[in-house]
Symmetry: C2
Subunit: 225 residues, 2 copies
């Protein structure tokens, strides 16, 4: 039985298309040698809060969850956070840079398939990063969970991509650098490429991605298979 060809490539946003390390530079400016500890805890709490809100049957926009997670992380580490720092970090989030290789790869891929973005972030945050990097013309759909008020890895989130592009799950190649997001998308039934940017190990959650990529360039080979 022939596998259905990939018709659509859908990308996660933060850590996959957009480099969140520029936030670390701001953190370093304000928190010096505590910055890397804060950065790790902040990212972790940000994810935890998305999961916990959805598990509790509640919702808060990603922009607010992100700032709440920062407040909690600073409290935990006994670091003082003021409005100036919060505002600067939030502004930084709205204008994250894409990884340097993203533009040319996305351009090449756009000749082979329709492209989309599927993210926990609210539409405003997503559009900010896409516009800042002039990537808007390559993405047919920019999908935010804010429409359904559930965070990844709920099945309804991945279903949004199928609905938006009117394709079957296996006709979508979903690209994420987040292990748990790759697992969630696999569990739902998308074809998945885990972009292992950070040299991590896969989760033990019963699902494996279809492809494991060391660098984004390898997506072009996957699409030529």
């Amino acid at each position: 039985m022939e596998k259905p060809p990939v018709k659509v490539v859908v990308f996660d946003a933060y850590g996959t298309l957009f480099n969140i390390n520029s936030l670390d530079q701001v953190l370093h400016h304000y928190f010096g040698d505590r910055a890397s500890e804060l950065s790790a805890l902040w990212r972790r709490k940000q994810l935890e809060y998305t999961w916990l809100y959805t598990l509790m049957g509640s919702y808060k926009p990603f922009s607010e969850v992100t700032m709440d997670a920062l407040v909690n992380s600073c409290n935990s580490l006994e670091l003082t956070l003021n409005n100036e720092i919060r505002d600067e970090l939030y502004q930084e989030y709205l204008q994250l840079e894409a990884y340097p290789e993203v533009r040319s790869i996305v351009e090449s891929l756009s000749e082979k398939a329709a492209l989309g973005v599927l993210s926990n972030a609210n539409q405003q945050m997503l559009q900010g990063a896409i516009d800042r990097n002039n990537l808007g013309s390559f993405f047919t759909k920019v999908l935010s969970v804010e429409k359904i008020m559930l965070f990844k890895p709920r099945k309804e989130v991945y279903q949004m991509a199928c609905d938006a592009f009117q394709v079957l799950p296996k006709e979508i190649l979903f690209v994420s650098s987040n292990t748990w997001d790759a697992v969630g998308a696999s569990s739902f039934g998308l074809k998945v490429a885990w972009l292992n940017r950070f040299g991590g190990v896969m989760e033990e959650l019963g699902f494996q991605p279809d492809y494991v990529l060391d660098e984004m360039q390898q997506l072009l080979e996957v699409m030529n298979k």
Copy 2:
């Protein structure tokens, strides 16, 4: 308007009644100075996996999730895990010791209210720890999520306590040392005492526990209010 009196006190298990530090001794025996790093990551992945399974609409018993989280943590830290270590850690889990003050407090409370346990753990694990500490006679109900195949903080888990004791949410005082569990129970509507054993800070998730306790002894004062 008078508040309804507390009719039932329900406890979380691990970290609240039972001391999980004895696992650290086994970890230290096998992994030396990497033990504390492994212990922290293991506990974190264990929680993450419960959340992610439930978010994905899937389920695996806590005993298996716990061991999967250990495998992933060892992989991440490049530590070698063998069956002997796994078995020893699992056996240790089945016979965790209660914190030293638990018995006398639980005994006193049992004269004022019905008592229960509500845990992510499967029934076998829970019963093992309760039996090993001879606490069985104090708890009217020992409730495991395995019956509904959803993990905390889903509302259905906290609802189990109301159903089992046939009481309203506000007639239950839920005691947990886990911040996110205290938030989940508050969000559902239970009266909540957060037992801050580990000197942590509360989450920024929109809900606060009714009581914050530095030590378990303070539960007796709460019940006399």
